[in-house]
């Protein structure tokens, strides 16, 4: 059973062992509107927690994506290239990158599901 954490910039990280799937939250997906493009890093890129790893575009907005954890990008979700709307349909399934974490202790600094729900409530 994987556990999920969030950043204030609305990325989630789903963790299974030392493997993390990073995507954007349901709240972020609904705010962004129909996603038209996702800019992703290359497999093998090394990320530090907080690094910008890509960007997500809708017709009239674009947001940078930040990595919640440090580690190596071991896979990018190729399906998003042809069908970026998967992110609108099921954001928690439509992960963007898969990271092999180098420091799982970083997760302690992130919001868990209930803390994030509270956080979203405060965003008007």
């Amino acid at each position: 059973m994987s556990k999920i954490y969030y950043l204030p910039s609305h990325e989630y990280v789903k963790v299974d062992g030392d493997i993390a799937l990073v995507g954007i939250s349901e709240y972020a997906a609904s705010q962004l509107g129909a996603v038209t493009y996702v800019d992703v890093p290359e497999e093998g890129d090394e990320l530090a927690a907080g690094d910008e790893f890509g960007a997500i575009e809708s017709r009239k907005a674009a947001s940078d994506l930040f990595s919640p954890v440090s580690g190596e990008v071991i896979e990018v979700n190729e399906e998003l290239a042809d069908n970026p709307r998967l992110i609108n349909n099921a954001p928690l399934d439509a992960w963007i990158i898969k990271v092999k974490m180098s420091d799982p202790a970083e997760l302690d600094g992130l919001m868990d599901e209930s803390a994030y729900a509270e956080f979203c409530k405060k965003q008007h």
Binding site: G33, A34, T36, Y37, E57, S58, R59, P84
Partner: protein, 491 residues
């Protein structure tokens, strides 16, 4: 008109064997030139084959699907869509102006150089600056040029640590984008509730890592930055320079000069304040002015006047380099100079004052129905934050589209970013009271219909040549050429 027959794409009017041109049939002594086959293209490009009358009808019909300043009123905030005088256009097409090659000797283009130098000096007088360059092609290009001048100024003093440019959160998007292109990091400065720069926030961000603060004045909420003397003092005390984005110069014509306010570098959008046509997105011009002491950093090449009264092209001593192949959009300068010459000092001052009066008149005529977050007096423009009564869910976008049905261009919408439902209105001085009244009437009727029949507004426009184009679809699966269109399964 027959749009069905003539308005499809020009490619769809093509018939093999037709032509729209007749070329000379000169017989040159060389005969046919043959080049190695591997240097030639494999097949001819797919271009239309149409007769001249077909082409003319195609574009004439399609032009009637367009709205322009000559069609009607553009209340477009920060864009200064004033009337484009016809006499200015007439000055360009003559021999001796349009048929000069940019590599001609200075001797053979003294008139062209006189146009440059005269306009440079007039703009310096209007901006309160020491010197101008006319090389930048547009406002954003002017910003970039100005920032490179600032960079060069700091580097020339051996001050390499100034990596930041401060930009108010109400700034035009080009400001941070230009600063980023010039290699600076961008730091946002907060606005006060009245839309002006928060001086305390500014002071907290000023240090020896700051190269410049970019500002418009009046700013994008239409407010005059009355603390500008304090701002200038703080910026200069920190060793930074003050940059003036001239997009909003129109209302202070004849009232105040950026140079006198303490600005060190500025650009002017000639296609705004100085009446040259927008052309659906260009060509514009973004001349850049500098205060005394910064002349040497201007881009190359530059037009100067020699002691004997003749004109020459040279390179400023410490120029940061070149931003254009030649000397910018010359034909645009001819038009802007014609405008200044026909307006004179009094005419320009009157333009600024009447632009401000027009804006305030609309603002006061609508503020009971539209939410005015910043009370005036405004200058050339002001911002509504949507309808006062938002209960029916009618948005700024809906209002903009409803205006199209009523024969008006939309205001600038969702900018500045300070307000969620920003509706930014700038009427300019060239509009009559009757036009403004008619616009006010339409805006009031839209506000009233928003309550009585909100769906009628939400579903607008109804009467435009196309309605509700699928913009999401366009971005998701871009079809950007005729070839892609032919291969598309959905279009």
């Amino acid at each position: 008109m027959n749009k069905e027959l003539y308005s499809p794409l020009i490619f769809e009017l093509s018939q093999s064997g037709r032509t729209g041109c007749r070329l000379p049939d000169y017989k040159y002594s060389s005969g046919a030139v043959s080049l190695p086959a591997e240097l030639l293209r494999g097949e001819a490009p797919t271009l239309p084959e149409v007769s001249e009358p077909s082409l003319v009808r195609h574009y004439t019909n399609s032009s009637t699907n367009n709205f322009g300043v000559d069609t009607g009123f553009y209340p477009l905030g920060s864009c200064t869509m004033k009337y484009n005088p016809k006499v200015n256009e007439a000055m360009v097409g003559r021999s001796g102006i349009s048929d000069l090659h940019p590599a001609q000797s200075a001797d053979s283009v003294q008139g062209a150089l006189r146009i440059y130098r005269t306009l440079e000096l007039y703009l310096a007088e209007i901006g309160g600056m020491a010197e101008f360059t006319l090389n930048p092609f547009a406002g954003a290009h002017g910003e970039y040029t100005g920032l490179m001048i600032i960079r060069q100024y700091h580097l020339s003093r051996g001050d390499e640590a100034r990596r930041k440019v401060l930009v108010p959160d109400s700034a035009h998007g080009t400001n941070p984008a230009s600063a980023a292109m010039a290699g600076f990091d961008i730091v946002e400065v907060k606005s006060l509730p009245d839309g002006t720069v928060d001086l305390d926030d500014l002071r907290s961000k000023l240090d020896c890592s700051v190269a410049a603060l970019m500002m418009t004045n009046p700013n994008t909420t239409g407010m005059f930055e009355h603390s500008i003397p304090e701002i200038a003092e703080a910026v200069h005390a920190a060793g930074a320079l003050l940059y003036y984005d001239g997009a909003n110069l129109n209302p202070i014509l004849g009232v105040a000069r950026p140079g006198d306010m303490g600005f060190d570098v500025m650009h002017i959008n000639l296609h705004k304040t100085f009446s040259t046509p927008h052309g659906g997105g260009g060509p514009g011009a973004g001349p850049v002015g500098v205060r005394a002491g910064l002349e040497a950093f201007l881009p190359a090449p530059h037009v100067t006047c020699l002691p004997d009264g003749s004109f020459a092209v040279d390179e400023p001593a410490d120029s940061f380099g070149r931003v254009s192949a030649w000397l910018g959009n010359f034909a645009v300068y001819v038009k802007a100079l014609a405008y200044i010459l026909t307006m004179g000092a009094d005419g320009l001052a009157a333009a600024g004052r009447m632009a401000t009066l027009n804006a305030n008149y609309i603002m006061h005529s609508l503020k009971d129905l539209y939410l005015l977050p910043i009370a005036g007096p405004c200058k050339h423009e002001f911002v509504f934050d949507g309808l006062r009564d938002k209960s029916t869910g009618v948005t700024t976008l809906n209002i903009a589209k409803a205006l199209l049905d009523r024969g008006f261009h939309a205001p600038t919408i969702y900018f500045p970013l300070l307000f969620h439902e920003a509706l930014m209105i700038e009427p300019t001085e060239t509009e009559t009271k009757e036009t403004l009244d008619s616009f006010i009437k339409a805006m009031r009727e839209i506000a009233e219909t928003s309550l009585s029949d909100p769906e009628a507004i939400k579903s607008a426009p109804h009467h435009t040549p196309v309605t509700h184009p699928d913009e999401d679809g366009a971005a998701l699966d871009p079809v950007l050429t005729y070839r892609m269109l032919c291969n598309s399964t959905t279009l």
